[in-house]
């Protein structure tokens, strides 16, 4: 393939490349990267499946079925808080781990390291992107839930705090995996952990429906802390002081995961 004269000649004549360096303002860089991350997530079919399709299918399916007995009251009241927990797990953990793993594999993280966007700026952008996608997920799940008859009770501030701390915790765990494993291994592990925690991690299925032998250990997983915490608030009408236990579990997992990820993360 050759370049025609018009293509070569028309643009950027003598002096056009004279140095005029300078970084954009930090806030603009972070917002630009946030938009880029959100765009990439929404364009990716598999990630949409994990973050939107599966949670909404579970919400609609489990609230209509009597296959699983979930206790007294309308099933949707017990299912919806768990689906919110699953939304956080899918976006902050699975989707972020997979995207970051492949960004490293394709040298995108390395190339970003040469731009004016600092590592702090990149992490800020990734966090904002996760939060932005979650806001969309929560809006959709709450909207569909209402349409299906969900009438949540309890303290919304407590629920939001659980969601935020859960996001921090699962983001750090996702980056921990992506920073250590190869991209394909990250893909496999992040998906497998998603399914395991969905089924047996007390995310959607309440802890007291799990075999007693499992429940004691599962209780200490971040998925259980988030799922049980949200059910305590939104289903049982609890407030902040009723979920101090789950908040503490999320905090400990989060702090440990951040510390390990910061030490082990490889950018290339």
């Amino acid at each position: 393939m050759s370049l025609t004269d018009s293509e070569q000649g028309a643009a950027l004549g003598p002096g056009a490349f004279a140095p005029r360096p300078g970084a954009a303002p930090m806030a603009r860089m972070v917002l630009a990267q946030t938009a880029a991350e959100v765009y990439s997530t929404l364009r990716n079919g598999e990630q949409l499946l994990l973050t939107l399709v599966i949670p909404l299918l579970l919400l609609a399916g489990l609230s209509r079925t009597s296959l699983v007995s979930l206790g007294s009251g309308p099933a949707i009241d017990l299912v919806a808080p768990g689906v919110l927990a699953l939304a956080v797990l899918s976006t902050a953990f699975t989707s972020q781990a997979i995207a970051t793993g492949f960004e490293r594999r394709y040298g995108v993280l390395k190339a970003l390291g040469a731009t004016p966007l600092s590592r702090f700026g990149l992490i800020a952008a990734k966090s904002l992107a996760v939060l932005a996608v979650e806001v969309g997920q929560v809006a959709l799940i709450v909207g569909v839930g209402y349409a299906l008859g969900w009438r949540p009770v309890g303290s919304w501030p407590a629920a939001v705090l659980l969601l935020l701390l859960g996001t921090l915790c699962f983001s750090a765990l996702g980056l921990l995996i992506a920073g250590v494993l190869r991209a394909e291994a990250t893909l496999a592990a992040a998906n497998a952990i998603y399914v395991l925690l969905l089924v047996g991690g007390a995310t959607v299925v309440p802890l007291d429906k799990l075999p007693a032998a499992l429940a004691g250990g599962v209780r200490l997983l971040p998925s259980a802390a988030l799922g049980e915490g949200l059910r305590t608030v939104l289903h049982a009408g609890g407030g902040l002081f009723d979920v101090l236990g789950p908040l503490a579990v999320l905090l400990v997992w989060g702090v440990v995961a951040v510390a390990v990820a910061a030490r082990t993360f490889r950018w290339e």
Binding site: E7, L12, A18, P21, M29, A36, G113
Partner: protein
């Protein structure tokens, strides 16, 4: 023209006694070089010579185990925040999200700079406009290289590091990129590139640094490097001629070498008398010399002499 804000020394890059190791491998083993500002410097060397490690240390990706690196007068690791807007980087491998087309990929990078080059003009200049929505994944090697090159210069840097910028390009694209690199220099940008193409170094570079096994084996301008050696006369004949005998028959100061077998090189003052003397000696000994040429040694000859001919 905007002033070029280089280090006080006038060098874009200064490397002093640099050592970089990976485990026990000494990728860079005591390198000292200076790359001039507002010029094109080519780092040449065989695969595995340490070119990329040297460049990536200047880019701040690697920390020296020993020695000192200054880029635009600053420390590439400690002063990264200040240097990143001023230095453009084109990596040898990857760097672009494969699902993006050239336009969106370049817009993403442009938004990090205060006053980026216009994306459309840059794409037009590099022949990327015609690719339309083709994603990076589906581009040819040369097209990918041009996207990465555009990303490296979009922030109007003072200095660019280009790691094998024309790898995988067809001749037309290569000429277009050479033309762009010359304009960068003329516009006051310092360019450091790695290559293993001799003609690329000869065409573009003001300064050539030849690296082998983690060390600098030669530096100088392309013409300086080639003229440092005497002119040569080369010919081919059957292997195993007595070179000492031939040398004795030639004017004083001539040196005859057979390398590889069957290829003979006579170094010295190449003039009609030398040519006649070689021809006479061959006639006398019943040797038919073929491919007899005279001239200055090419950069490739210099390179192969310095780094060896054996495949590795």
């Amino acid at each position: 023209m905007a002033p070029t804000l280089t280090g006080v020394s006038g060098f874009a890059v200064e490397v002093e006694d640099l050592h970089v190791r990976f485990g026990t491998v000494r990728a860079v083993d005591g390198v000292s070089v200076q790359f001039p500002a507002a010029g094109v410097c080519a780092v040449l060397g065989p695969n595995g010579a340490g070119k990329t490690t040297l460049i990536e240390t200047c880019e701040g990706y690697r920390r020296p185990h020993r020695g000192r690196v200054r880029v635009l007068g600053r420390d590439p690791v400690a002063d990264a925040r200040e240097l990143r807007p001023r230095v453009g980087v084109m990596l040898q491998e990857g760097g672009v999200w494969p699902a993006l087309a050239a336009g969106p990929a370049l817009h993403r990078v442009a938004r990090f700079y205060r006053d980026p080059l216009p994306v459309d003009s840059l794409m037009e200049r590099l022949g990327l406009s015609r690719l339309g929505g083709r994603t990076f994944r589906r581009m040819s090697g040369g097209e990918k290289q041009r996207v990465k090159l555009a990303a490296a210069i979009i922030g109007r840097p003072e200095l660019v590091f280009l790691d094998e910028p024309t790898a995988g390009m067809d001749p037309q694209a290569r000429l277009a990129v050479w033309d762009l690199i010359r304009q960068l220099r003329d516009d006051g940008v310092s360019v450091v590139l790695t290559t293993h193409l001799m003609d690329e170094a000869e065409q573009l570079a003001d300064e050539v640094v030849i690296v082998d096994r983690g060390r600098v084996v030669a530096t100088g301008s392309p013409s300086g490097l080639t003229s440092r050696y005497d002119e040569v006369l080369t010919f081919r004949a059957s292997a195993g001629l007595d070179t000492a005998l031939l040398q004795a028959a030639l004017p004083d100061g001539c040196v005859v070498v057979e390398d590889p077998p069957g290829s003979y090189r006579v170094e010295g003052t190449v003039d009609p008398a030398l040519l006649a003397a070689v021809a006479a000696w061959c006639a006398e000994h019943g040797v038919l010399a073929t491919a007899l040429t005279t001239g200055r040694r090419s950069l490739e000859d210099v390179f192969l002499d310095l780094t060896g001919r054996a495949l590795r």
